[in-house]
């Protein structure tokens, strides 16, 4: 099974080297062939050089597209090069590569899910995020359950596995505003099977989060509208696709 590790990175020269070394040091699993791809999202530091020196494939985006655009670049490449699955893993070192085994385990099972989300809220060993962030995550869970009927305990997690059907879907359409929760709504509307796996996550190894303090509340307001719109749009898109296939 060929698996592409998509690492979106924006000015992550400090954390990236360590992350790529960890990936290289992973014990080989039978039948799994891992390839690391760093998507340099228009960084102004040496992110691309660090990635290249560590032996990773590098996609250099000539301008900053944000996390959604960067991840979709990797998903597009995975789809076009016929990878069996793609794993999204943050370039800031929050997602330990040692958890890849747990994340990839369901992909090899029969009737495998199309999208697997690594959740930090089901493992007791995880670090505790801020109260506002946990509150925001709770609100997103409610919104996704009510609007899109998706049951995921960590909707903002960027540690995910995309199966072949998800790769095909997200090659065509991927959200750019709030990609993590919105992509769950899209996947559900398109009839993909979404599941989750408990994983351990670390605190960021470098940089700062763009969502902090009271901006979380504004973020939640925007994301609620975005999820509702995305779900409706995806339903319409699926109906159109089904119609064109039946013709």
């Amino acid at each position: 099974m060929r698996v592409l590790l998509i690492i979106p990175a924006y000015n992550e020269q400090q954390a990236l080297g360590g992350l790529l070394s960890e990936i290289q040091a992973l014990p080989r699993t039978d039948g799994v062939q891992l390839e690391a791809l760093v998507v340099d999202d228009g960084s102004s530091d040496r992110t691309a050089e660090v990635a290249q020196a560590a032996g990773a494939r590098v996609l250099r985006l000539c301008r900053n597209l944000g996390i959604g655009g960067a991840v979709q670049s990797g998903l597009r490449l995975a789809y076009r090069e016929n990878f069996d699955a793609a794993v999204q893993i943050d370039g800031d070192g929050q997602h330990p590569p040692s958890e890849l085994h747990s994340l990839l385990a369901p992909v090899r099972e029969p009737n495998a899910p199309d999208l697997i989300v690594g959740t930090r809220y089901r493992s007791k060993e995880n670090f505790r995020s801020t109260l506002l962030r946990r509150l925001g995550s709770w609100w997103l869970r409610v919104i996704l359950r009510v609007l899109a009927r998706v049951r995921v305990s960590d909707p903002t997690s960027g540690y995910r596995v995309y199966g072949p059907r998800a790769l095909r879907l997200f090659d065509e359409t991927y959200p750019y505003d709030f990609p993590e929760p919105e992509s769950l709504a899209i996947a559900k509307a398109a009839g993909l099977k979404v599941s989750e796996v408990p994983v351990t996550m670390r605190e960021r190894q470098g940089g700062t989060s763009s969502i902090a303090g009271f901006s979380t509340i504004y973020y939640m307001f925007k994301v609620t509208i975005a999820v509702a719109l995305t779900y409706m749009r995806a339903l319409r898109w699926k109906a159109k696709t089904d119609d064109s296939r039946s013709d």
Partner: protein, 131 residues
């Protein structure tokens, strides 16, 4: 009283003409596209005509229920600006999405090219050695 107010609108017409001239100059220098600025030119022309033909404008304003012609001017300008803004927003969003797709394609092609170049160069160097 209304006629007294409308007499002063020539200044507004002159301002519209001035903006239209600036727009034409930008078009001439290819700083903006004709396709994109047609609606703006149309809007300026409409406001200019309203200013230079106040009697007709006043008649239309009265028929639409406006007692003061300045209110009619104000409403027309706001509505036209809202339409122009919406049109600009649609164009901008289209360009933004297209730019994202192009940036991604460019990065994928560049990576493919960089990966294929060393592979191509290798046989060439061995050819040189053999000769």
């Amino acid at each position: 009283m209304i006629q007294g107010v409308t007499d002063k609108y020539w200044l507004f017409g002159a301002a519209c003409l001035l903006i239209a001239l600036i727009l034409m100059r930008l078009l001439f220098r290819e700083r903006i596209t004709l396709q994109g600025s047609m609606s703006f030119l149309g809007f300026l022309m409409l406001l200019g005509l309203m200013a230079i033909a106040p009697t007709t404008t006043q008649r239309i304003a009265n028929q639409l229920g406006f007692t003061l012609m300045s209110n009619f001017f104000f409403c027309t300008a706001i509505a036209a600006l809202a339409i122009l803004h919406l049109r600009a927003l649609i164009t901008l969003s289209r360009v933004h999405l297209r730019t994202i797709a192009l940036t991604q394609e460019l990065a994928i092609l560049q990576e493919k090219l960089e990966r294929s170049l060393p592979a191509r160069e290798e046989p060439r160097s061995s050819d040189t050695r053999a000769s």
